[in-house]
Symmetry: C2
Subunit: 457 residues, 2 copies
């Protein structure tokens, strides 16, 4: 029996196991789910153990890190797999067609929070290793798994501290992450770069209490109006960010990569239609791929202030706040950018309100070298798993841990995305196509052999 | 026993009855409280009945209207009292020192939602009438009470339909409303004008779902950013509203009233300190009183969009919305102003979002004639109740029903405010000073005699 035959024979069981994994409401943004994250981590550890890997939980100040390994010998290359078992909050719940933590297959897709980001994608590598072990009794490479539980909160200090502390244990040749996407349906991709991120929250404080907007309106600055006004001054009419110095360190896209992007299939009408918008947005003189992959952004992820319930409430709210993330490109430093934003906001804040900004951390952009052997191994594995050669692309999202692997362990990261942009990750009705889950598992079987091959070659 | 002696002897009982009234969570903005409003109305009807008035409930499409009357004869003048038993939502609950619907007296104040706005103030007139009836066995005037349950929602069509339909029943000489404030602590006032209001809600729709801000940020218009940008374009740097035509019909304050306002005690430092702001806001070349009483405004009462919970969520939200009210001065028409706002917003909305505006209704500003006998009656009653002559002022809030009384019944309205601007109406820890409640009750005893006097005179 070959590993692929094993995969074929165990499809139903594999799906059931994934469903078990998806049922944990492992929402790291909410402290009420702390116990669920713990239980999810323990389930995962036990699963590794059942596959024959040695596994353990490493506690952190937040949720535990699951670590597992199967070592065949120092003469063999070592893959360090990284993934995360925590998920985004499922809200707004009323927009889900089925409950977010009760996975179901509908129209060929697995619907559940985390199905694509990242439980489903991570799980392919467990199943790939399982298949090789069951079929061959051993592996062509050493494997190490580091699955964390705080990625959706930006992978705070805990993880970098762990990597720093466990440098020796984590030694490897290459990191593999499946937390990105195919280029499009049935067109797989290898991702050779990611944007960085800087997260902040801004608070505008006005009067010491909500005031009657009739009695006081006209004489008291309204924190919602004024916060809006400030946010309105963060971009110019052409989508360019107005924070002084924002673009100062920003590396311009290279000729080679712009050329790669130009080759990719793209039809703006389809893109607009898929997202339900009548017009796109953003910096002039850059294509959609450039704007989302190699240009920085500033987006309000959430805003609140005043009365938000049914009906009305005639108040001048005492405060307003906004959660903001900025996506960064190579050479931009998160703390530096956050500092520039704070300076600008404080400068433009009117005297009748008090502005505060909290910096929630960030990560620099990631660049995968395009000239080493690794991209070739990834390309071949994907071709085998998907039956089709992948394209090369970048990704606008951030996987901060890749910076850690580079700086602490000197390792590059291969991004093999099995999901789709249309998987609704981070939004209601997240799903993962069954066919992509299966192709992912087949790619996961092929990858260790390819890594062994290019390393030997 | 005189009416005032009766008041003195029944103070404890009066307070207990008010507490009963305040315990109903009669929040008209929330449909979940519909039954509470019904119970509150029935309690009030019963209370009128116990005082010897004939009373009944008039159902509406929303909450019932409580009506009561005591008629002594057509040769006597008739007062129509108006008040409301519904209250503002109590949120944010965590900022209340004691639960909003469990009234307590603390530091000489009655703390409860509705204590000042408007259950407590309305209740003074019931107690005034009770005192006269108990002491004299009759009244110097005919009295009619109309207490509604939808004022905080802007007194929708139901009320005007009722007034229109019950024109005959409601015939009177003057309307009396206690839903405004003293000028300041221990400086009572007669209010000779109120601003009007226009309420709208605006919705900015972007992509058909929340999108990952990494994957799509830079190419897709963010409804929160863009709604903020539009709200930021509603005022200029000097607090002037930029909606074309907004000021077109706006009546400028007259020389006489500006003079009245200039005479009122005012210290900006105290005003700022009381509200906890370091600077005021608003149109240049108008005083604080003018900006809050005779100039129009536009305030966002609440805004929401995207993720608002703990932690972060890296999304481009699919929508954002804001509740807005505009305060209007004489000659501005609410629907006209709302229409101008909509036109402007739709003009400045970028093509990547879809903007919708819902008009929730409004009311024109109210002007009380300063030359008839009524202001004099009010002045004398307040002087008796408070032991001090009142000043003449205006008020920035809106009491839309006064427009109805004028247009449907031809009646002017006297505003006798017993509360204080610092009562925290519409915000946490609403309260009503016990001493003001008592002065209000004494004024309520004096008023019918004064009305009878000026009418006879």
């Amino acid at each position: 029996m070959t590993p692929l035959e094993y995969l074929q024979q165990t499809q139903a069981k594999r799906m059931e196991e994934l469903f078990e994994f998806l049922r944990f409401p492992s929402v790291s943004a909410k402290s009420e789910h702390k116990a669920d994250l713990q239980r999810c981590a323990e389930w995962l550890r036990k699963h590794f153990q059942d596959l024959g890997l040695s596994s353990s939980l490493f506690p952190t100040s937040g949720n535990p890190i699951v670590y597992a390994e199967y070592l065949v010998g120092p003469q063999r290359p070592t893959i360090l797999y990284y993934g995360h078992y925590d998920v985004q909050p499922p809200e707004p719940l009323e927009l889900w067609a089925s409950p977010p933590f009760e996975p179901v297959v509908r129209d060929g897709c697995i619907y559940a929070r985390g199905s694509s980001d990242d439980k489903g994608q991570t799980f392919t590598h467990l199943k790939g290793i399982e298949a090789i072990l069951k079929a061959e009794g051993t592996l062509p490479v050493n494997v190490k798994f580091l699955i964390e539980g705080q990625e959706e909160g930006g992978s705070p200090e805990d993880l970098s501290r762990f990597i720093q502390k466990e440098k020796k244990r984590l030694q490897a040749d290459i990191v593999v992450v499946s937390d990105t996407s195919q280029f499009s349906k049935d067109l797989p991709a290898v991702t050779f770069g990611l944007r960085g991120i800087a997260s902040v929250e801004i608070f505008a404080y006005g009067p010491n209490r909500d005031l009657h907007s009739g009695t006081f309106g006209g004489a008291i600055g309204n924190p919602v109006n004024l916060l809006c006004e400030m946010i309105g001054r963060l971009h110019d009419k052409n989508g360019r960010i107005l924070v002084p110095g924002f673009y100062q360190d920003c590396r311009l896209p290279g000729k080679w990569e712009r050329e790669q992007f130009r080759r990719l299939p793209y039809r703006e009408a389809n893109y607009r239609k898929e997202l339900g918008v009548t017009a796109l947005y953003g910096e002039k003189s850059y294509s959609t791929f450039e704007r989302t992959w190699v240009r920085p952004t500033l987006d309000v992820n959430g805003i609140q202030g005043g009365y938000q319930g049914e009906g009305g409430k005639t108040i001048i709210p005492s405060r307003a706040s906004a959660k903001i993330t900025m996506r960064l490109v190579p050479d931009m430093k998160p703390a530096d950018i956050a500092g520039k934003l704070e300076k600008y906001l404080k400068k433009i804040a009117p005297p009748c309100i008090r502005l505060e900004m909290v910096y929630h951390g960030g990560a620099e952009a990631v660049v995968v070298p395009t000239d080493g052997p690794w991209l070739e191994a990834a390309r071949c594995a994907i071709r085998k798993g998907f039956g089709k050669a992948p394209v090369f692309m970048k990704e606008g999202g951030s996987i901060p841990v890749a910076n850690n692997f580079k700086s602490s362990l000197g390792l590059d990261t291969l991004f093999l995305g099995f999901g789709l942009n249309s998987d609704n990750i981070h939004s209601p009705n997240e799903h993962f196509r069954v066919v992509d889950f299966e192709r992912g598992c087949r790619t996961a079987v092929a990858l260790p052999y390819e890594i062994a091959r290019v390393k030997a070659g």
